[in-house]
Symmetry: C2
Subunit: 450 residues, 2 copies
Amino acid sequence: MIDPRVASGLRDIPPSVMIPRERMLATFRRTFASFGYVPIETPHIERMEVLTGKGAGSDEVLRQIFEVINKGGEAGKLALRFDLTVPLARFVAKHVNELGTPFKRYAIGSVFRGERPAKGRFREFVQCDFDTVGTESAVADAETAHVIYAALTAAGVPAFRITLNNRKILDGLLDTLGAADKTGPVLRALDKLAKVGRDKVLGELQRGEEDSSTRLLSAEQAARILDFVEQGQGGVEVLSRVEETLGRHPRAAEGIANLRTILGLLDAASVPAAYLALDLGLARGLDYYTGVVFETTINGWEKFGSISSGGRYDNLASLFTDRRLPGVGASIGLDRLLALMEEAGWLQGTATTVPVLIAQFPGVDAAVAVKLGARLRAAGVGAEVFPEPIQVGKQMGYGSTRGHKVAVIVGPDEAGKELFNLRDLATRQEQKAIPWAELEASVKRALGDS
Amino acid sequence: MIDPRVASGLRDIPPSVMIPRERMLATFRRTFASFGYVPIETPHIERMEVLTGKGAGSDEVLRQIFEVINKGGEAGKLALRFDLTVPLARFVAKHVNELGTPFKRYAIGSVFRGERPAKGRFREFVQCDFDTVGTESAVADAETAHVIYAALTAAGVPAFRITLNNRKILDGLLDTLGAADKTGPVLRALDKLAKVGRDKVLGELQRGEEDSSTRLLSAEQAARILDFVEQGQGGVEVLSRVEETLGRHPRAAEGIANLRTILGLLDAASVPAAYLALDLGLARGLDYYTGVVFETTINGWEKFGSISSGGRYDNLASLFTDRRLPGVGASIGLDRLLALMEEAGWLQGTATTVPVLIAQFPGVDAAVAVKLGARLRAAGVGAEVFPEPIQVGKQMGYGSTRGHKVAVIVGPDEAGKELFNLRDLATRQEQKAIPWAELEASVKRALGDS
């Protein structure tokens, strides 16, 4: 006997999780498509050099890579993708001439990272990405936030907050402080602000020996940055404040104008202001992005972290082509969102895809159940025929456990007269002796009631 | 620069293929679900011993396996799945106690085989599997063919043929001929009948030295088998004929009765007889299956081979559990079917997911286009806002190329008066100066007409 366990860090997804997951995926596909994003698919396996090219993934991600070897093939040549962004860059570089720009694509698929196994973290998980490539337009920036709003709302998330920032504002601030070359380490320090607090970040910003060239920032520089960041949270009024201090710096002014335009377009799109927030300290991903950045948290569930992040990049595919391809996009973390919604009790639990169970009565021709099932499906009502004429009580138990709503039962007496009984599996009440001619209408009525 | 090509035998799927593919997958999911099959998902990566356990895969499939190695991990421990059946067996063995039986599941996902690259053959392809586990009922057998019929019909395949056989009938014939122990090689010889013709198969059935114990079959045995098989094609009348010769053999009689029951249930389910055929020589997969088997070819496109195959197995999960789990199921080859439908011209070509393009007129506030787009989406009409206010003719070209049907255009004159123009992108005719208040109604009317 072989142990039927899955490999470490991987998992089986049972029907009770897959049913709401498929519903959510269908919602995301429909939402992306309604904005004109088109689907593409790339292989799960990529050539190693595509994935490990300079800047493709962080060092951490590259340490977690899963190598793939064909029987008789050479080692080091193939690997499983760790995100959908590097494959998008490769895809666009290869196909941009046929596709033209702007190119708006969505992609939904598994990615693989050999992280240390931990509760709620898996080595295979699904990302849902959408991007607009080949334009610098703020309309595309705003649409990215609009799509996040539309997708989460359609998926039934009650209240959430999309936080925005623009990398150019912090660039401007650092430049005015004479620290334009220190963006990277400053961003990484700021990223920890919510977790470790002001004092520790102040310390990290001033690390290195005092009065030495190895010192990152002076005490005054560090304090100015933290003051700036801590006052930079809120609505559009934040932009008026920062305009006073940084409005004359060309790069900062670009960032401010971009956020102002985005908020205006989101208002035109009827995205409620309560779902939007500015945070000039939002640092995550800034190292990678070059303009607007997004993070999304669910109200009351901020501890889960961001469930949709993204931003604008200047040059997506520079590893693969000389052609400059700016773009903007975001990714929704399906599995994290589902885990959150399950914990919050927002998912409707069911282990069936159909509302109707057709029982098979012992002694009645199975063709009766099969025929009634086919009729219900033709009328648009999902119906499962129990495959064996076992004791009817056990069949009802099967339906109750899985969440079927009603059962159609045809005993020997009913079969001859073309009648059926309709049982509500929650209340156990039964309507008796309904003519087959009224099957579709009476089942639909019962489902409407239940 | 890194070459943006995919690895050998793999491919990118562009929007023009993905759009009908996603539509087809949604159709399959909806069909499977309407019969009460529930979705599950298993990891793309399995433990090597799960995939290579005795009987899990054929020698050929095992030679084609893709090994997976985590950084710092041991070789030989992990691999990519080559089908969805072995993972189902493992899943059921592990979870059957929570899930109960009958367990009806569908699974859709990529599988990986390192086949020699060739036109139309890829090393990653998608299978769409559905199975009923834990019952020997002929109702489940019939339902398997019913689901194939329903899925292909819903996907828009105009005419096809589901061919059925039952392994037990050939078992009975071989037993009466005193060759019960020679099923395997006989089946493999019969499998080639359509390709190589009667004479070559006769030769193969009599291979080995004459009058020696190494001889597979005598000339008379071989001729009897071929006569039997060649007269065994057609409708239910085939069963009456075979009943005369084999009706007294218990195992053959079981097979005959099973096929008769299945045809009766499919008639009750209103599956037209023209879509069904018996073929007592249908051998493919018989080595693996133990009861009914199915193959499906598209009328006029038989050269593409079977696009949906399956059958009944006695004991799915014997590698992983002592519990006997009989079942029946089938797999639809998504990529093969799509390739066929594309070649046949049955796919509607389009490279957009929305019917409406909203132009951005130079000099008009982008908020106008964004607002009108949001209104159309809220009314259930997919709408794409062009992201930049470039020359309107170029925006119209973008829409025509991709297959948008109409364009909404608001120039500076219209913007102030809250009017828009509606252009049919196929005929280039334009309705002028429609009030914004009539946006949804007029666009829907135009799409209904176009």
